[in-house]
Structure formats: structure tokens, C-alpha cells
């Protein structure tokens, strides 16, 4: 199974440099957000406990970047389904779960590259690691793990809809509320009550807060365990659902 997963992952990674536009497109949006929020709104936003708005904002942007990056998983799965390639794979004597695991793993690698570029962009606009290096590494790993978990949600969506375009719109339907109604850009304590309530239970808030604390040298408190729990929980539940769906797709 490991061998098949590796074969699948390398197939997906091999083509990444062949369509650099996809990679660039994945970076344009977060870079624009950084510039917009830092230079347009940045002056008027002050958040207690953070020396600059950058220190607050960038972890949120990182989190949003990995989340949107998981959209590639859905598009890739839907494309394979559409092209009939999945039919061939299902007729091969390979491990069937390797198809989706290979896909999510290769998207994790892709996400890591995007993330690294965003870190550089962050440094460029004045973001700094205020805590220890291990804490910063932990924060980054946490966010990437979160992106991996969301890849499974997107894989399930990719298996369930009929076209790549639908995956993209289906992804945005939940990705936008989940990133905006959270602590990504501003402190949710200023939100109206129902939104604040949503922001509080939003796993995205926990992940952003935990990594933000780690990058800034604070203790992440219960947000750390909470977000690790979410990432593992989502991966297990949606990994199971997606693989089950894959095994059954068209078999009935």
C-alpha cells in the first residue's frame, strides 16, 4: 500500500511544475490579502497584545492559505473521476485506498511549498517569530496538519460532485464562512453574538489561535490540544467517509 501511495503521490507531484500557473494562482490570493490588510486596514487596526497587526494577521493568512490549498484535492479527485482514470485504477491490482491517500499526501507537499512561500512574504512585510524556533515549527506543522485534514473533506466533495467547477464552488461555500467568521483577520469579540458563537466553536479559530500564540511566544493553552483533536478527528472521519465513498462509487 505504501508503494502504491508513493506511486500515486509522485504522479500528482510530477505535474505540479508543469502548470506553474496553478501554483501562482494559489499564491496570488493570500499575497493580495496580506497587502490589502496590512497596508490598507493595518493602520487602523490595533490588537492588544500584538506589537503590530502583522503579528496578528499573518498566522491567520497562513491558516487560510493551507485551507484554500486543500481545494486542489477536490479538483484533482473530480478530474480523475471525470476523465475515467479512476475506472482504470479500480481495475488494477493496487491498494484502492492508495488513490486518495496518495492524492492527499501530494497535496500536503504542495501545500507545504505554498506555505513556505507565504512565510517569506510574511517576513517581507515585517512578520517575525517572537517565540522560539521549535514553537514556530510546531505552529507551522499544526497548520499544515489542519490543511491535510481539510483535504479529506475536499476529497469527499470531489467524489460526490460531477465536475471540477462544481468542486470549486462547493468548496468556497463553506471555506469563506469558516475563514471569515473566525479569528483569522480580526478579534471575534467585536462580532454580533450569533457570529461570535460560531467563531468560538469554529475549529479554524482554534487552529489559528494556537498557531498565532506559538508564533508570538505565548502559551497556546487549550487551543493547541483542541486544534490537534479537530485535525485528527476530521482526518479520521472524512478519510473514512471518502474511502468508503470511493470503494462504492459506481459499484452499486
Amino acid at each position: 500500500m505504501l508503494r502504491d501511495t508513493w506511486t500515486e503521490a509522485t504522479r500528482n507531484l510530477r505535474v505540479v511544475p508543469r502548470s506553474p500557473d496553478l501554483m501562482i494562482f494559489a499564491l496570488v490570493q493570500p499575497v493580495m490579502f496580506v497587502l490589502l490588510f496590512v497596508y490598507v486596514f493595518g493602520g487602523s487596526i490595533e490588537i492588544p497584545g500584538f506589537a503590530t497587526y502583522q503579528q496578528y494577521l499573518l498566522p491567520g493568512i497562513f491558516a487560510q492559505t493551507v485551507l484554500f490549498g486543500s481545494g486542489f484535492t477536490g479538483a484533482g479527485v473530480a478530474e480523475d473521476m471525470q476523465k475515467g482514470l479512476i475506472e482504470r485504477l479500480r481495475s488494477l491490482p493496487m491498494s484502492q485506498s492508495a488513490v486518495l491517500i496518495g492524492r492527499t499526501v501530494s497535496d500536503l507537499v504542495r501545500n507545504t511549498v505554498t506555505f513556505a512561500v507565504m512565510l517569506l512574504v510574511g517576513f517581507f512585510v515585517g512578520f517575525r517569530f517572537e517565540g522560539s524556533i521549535p514553537a514556530a515549527v510546531a505552529a507551522s506543522a499544526l497548520l499544515l496538519g489542519f490543511g491535510y485534514a481539510f483535504s479529506w473533506i475536499m476529497a469527499l466533495i470531489g467524489l460526490s460532485v460531477s465536475s471540477v467547477e462544481t468542486v470549486n464552488s462547493a468548496g468556497f461555500v463553506w471555506m469563506f464562512p469558516i475563514t471569515f467568521v473566525s479569528s483569522t483577520f480580526v478579534d471575534p469579540s467585536t462580532f454580533p453574538t450569533p457570529l461570535r458563537w460560531f467563531a468560538d466553536i469554529n475549529p479554524f479559530t482554534a487552529a489559528t489561535n494556537a498557531s498565532r500564540a506559538l508564533y508570538n511566544g505565548y502559551s497556546p493553552g487549550r487551543d493547541l490540544l483542541l486544534s490537534i483533536g479537530w485535525a485528527i478527528g476530521i482526518s479520521v472521519v472524512f478519510g473514512y467517509l471518502a474511502n468508503r465513498r470511493f470503494a462504492r462509487a459506481n459499484r452499486t
Binding site: M81, L92, S162, R251
Partner: protein, 321 residues
């Protein structure tokens, strides 16, 4: 490879109703049937992609439902849509399938090279598939199903959607494969294709076999070729029938329908000039003369007494996700 009483229903469509097929080793079975007859459904069951509701299917004596994994190691599938990764090169696609068959990196690479040569893709092998023509894609697709030297090859409508030239090239290619002794199940809607490539033909309609036999045997039952002429003036049609009688072999009947007069012939286009001369001699002006080979429609007309397809209870084929 064998199926016994295979049945499958999709909601309100009975795709297969007791399908029986057998292929002897190193022979080609042509499964001939109109759109919606159940060809793809049968192939998908045999290739472990779909579970049957009833009946049994075996590949190399192995039950496809009970031991799908063992079956998968022995089959090659070229489905109706080219199942290739467009972003990879031809060579990478082949290499990739070799690895998924666990041939190992070296063997996979070597096999990819061999197949590129064999399928006339050596020059295009290092180009990305996105730029391939339809015929090239189809060839690559078939090559991908041969990577692990399967003991049974499934080709689901391999020439549908190809232009006439690529179709001929594809026929040659399949004929070569078959000559090497690859046991093959080939589905098609094209009578000539089945005739050219298959050792035995099973005609299927609405999910079951309605005729089975060698190509010659079946063609006899299906009626042979005919010459059709279209006279300019409908009033001349009876005169044309009269004039063509002498060209008719024993037991044959000239028929007319409106301005079209039909002369059954056992073989040959060589009669066409004689037909034209006969019309000339009778002073009948014609708009068109053509040689017609029996089509799937004729087969169905002969075997079932009604035309293929328009069977009322069959929904048009939906796009599968």
C-alpha cells in the same frame, strides 16, 4: 472467461437480463449491440468495477465477485473513455501503470519503452498527452491496458469516435494483438468491425444475447450486401425492378420503396456497372446508385423484426460521473 445468466438493473432500467458469454483462450469475442444494449455494463462487471445483481462471471476460472483482486491481476481494460492522465507524457503514463501493477521501476520503464514502439508512439512518447490526437490517445489507452501482459483484454468500443483513417489503423493494431494470441473481448456497434476482428460474435440486445456464432454464419442469417438505386422519376421504379431481375441470383427478389430500388447481391461491387448499364439500356434516369453493406440496423431488423435502439423502455445513456 465466462458469464452465466448475468443480471444487473439500475433503478428502472434492466441493463442485463441473463447474459451468457464464453470466450475460448486466445480468441476474440465480438460483442455487438446498439447503444444501451448492456455492453459496457457487462464489461464493467467482468472487470470488477460493478457488482452483478444475479448470475456469475469468471475470468480464468476466478469468480469476479469473490476474488476481484486476483481477477484484476489478470485483466487489461480499455474503457469507453480514454483513461489516461493528460498531464503526463505517454511514457510516464505507461510507467505509472507498470508501477501500480508492481512490476518494479526497471521493468516498468522497460515495458513502457516496448509498448511505445509497438504502438507507434515512440516519437510522441515524451510529449504530454494533452497534445495527442484522438487516435494516439486511444492507442496509448490500449497500451496501458497491456502493460502487465493480461490474460484477458477488454476493449469497450475501441473505435467509437475515431475518424475513418484512425479506425482502420486501430483495426490493424487490434488484429496484430489478436494474432499474438491475446484473449480479447471487444464490444462494438459496428458490424464490419466485429466481422473483421472477431472469431465469434455475440449479438446482444436489451441485456441478453439474441444471436451467437462465427462471423460468416451470422452474416448469412443477417442478410448480405445490396445495391440501391434511386430513380429520378417515381414512375420509372417499376421499370427499374423489371430491368434488374436478370441480375438477381437465384431465390433473390428485387424490391422497391418509393424511388429506391434494391437488388440483393452475394458479393460484389462488380455488379454496380452492370446495374448502371441495365438502367441505361432501359432508358431510366437515376439520381444515385450505391453499394450497401449490412449494418447493425439490418441485423436487428432481421433478427428481431424491429429496428435496434428505439426500444421504448430504454432511456438514453446517461453521462456517468
Amino acid at each position: 472467461m465466462e458469464t452465466i445468466g448475468l443480471a444487473k438493473r439500475f433503478k428502472d432500467v434492466e441493463a442485463l437480463r441473463g447474459l451468457d458469454l464464453v470466450i475460448a483462450e486466445a480468441t476474440v469475442l465480438g460483442v455487438l449491440g446498439p447503444n444501451g444494449a448492456g455492453k459496457t455494463t457487462a464489461v464493467r462487471i467482468l472487470t470488477t468495477l460493478l457488482r452483478p445483481d444475479g448470475g456469475r462471471a469468471f475470468v480464468d476460472g476466478i469468480d469476479v465477485v469473490a476474488e476481484p483482486h486476483r481477477v484484476r491481476a489478470r485483466i487489461g481494460l480499455t474503457g469507453q473513455d480514454a483513461a489516461v492522465d493528460e498531464r503526463l507524457t505517454g511514457r510516464e503514463n505507461l510507467d505509472y501503470v507498470g508501477r501500480l501493477h508492481h512490476l518494479g521501476p526497471r521493468m516498468s520503464r522497460q515495458r513502457a519503452g516496448e509498448l511505445l514502439d509497438q504502438f507507434d508512439l515512440a516519437d510522441a512518447g515524451d510529449r504530454v498527452v494533452k497534445g495527442y490526437s484522438g487516435g494516439m490517445r486511444r492507442r496509448l489507452d490500449i497500451a496501458m491496458s497491456l502493460v502487465a501482459r493480461p490474460s484477458v483484454l477488454f476493449l469497450d468500443e475501441p473505435t467509437t469516435g475515431l475518424d475513418p483513417r484512425s479506425r482502420l489503423a486501430m483495426w490493424d493494431l487490434i488484429a496484430d494483438l489478436v494474432a499474438e494470441g491475446t484473449t480479447t473481448l471487444l464490444t462494438t456497434q459496428n458490424l464490419e468491425e466485429a466481422d473483421r476482428l472477431a472469431d465469434r460474435i455475440a449479438v446482444i440486445n436489451r441485456g441478453s444475447v439474441i444471436a451467437e456464432g462465427g462471423p460468416d454464419e451470422l452474416k448469412q442469417r443477417m442478410g448480405g450486401s445490396r445495391i440501391e438505386i434511386e430513380v429520378r422519376d417515381p414512375a420509372d421504379a417499376d421499370g427499374a425492378v423489371e430491368a434488374l431481375w436478370p441480375l438477381c441470383a437465384e431465390g433473390c427478389r428485387v424490391r422497391r420503396q418509393g424511388r429506391v430500388v434494391t437488388l440483393p447481391v452475394t458479393d460484389g461491387a462488380q455488379l454496380v456497372p452492370e446495374v448502371v448499364r441495365a438502367m441505361d439500356a432501359a432508358g431510366i434516369a437515376i439520381d444515385d446508385v450505391a453499394m450497401r453493406r449490412p449494418t447493425l440496423d439490418d441485423v436487428f431488423l432481421n433478427l428481431t423484426g424491429h429496428r435496434a435502439d428505439e426500444a421504448q423502455d430504454q432511456a438514453p445513456e446517461p453521462a456517468r460521473p
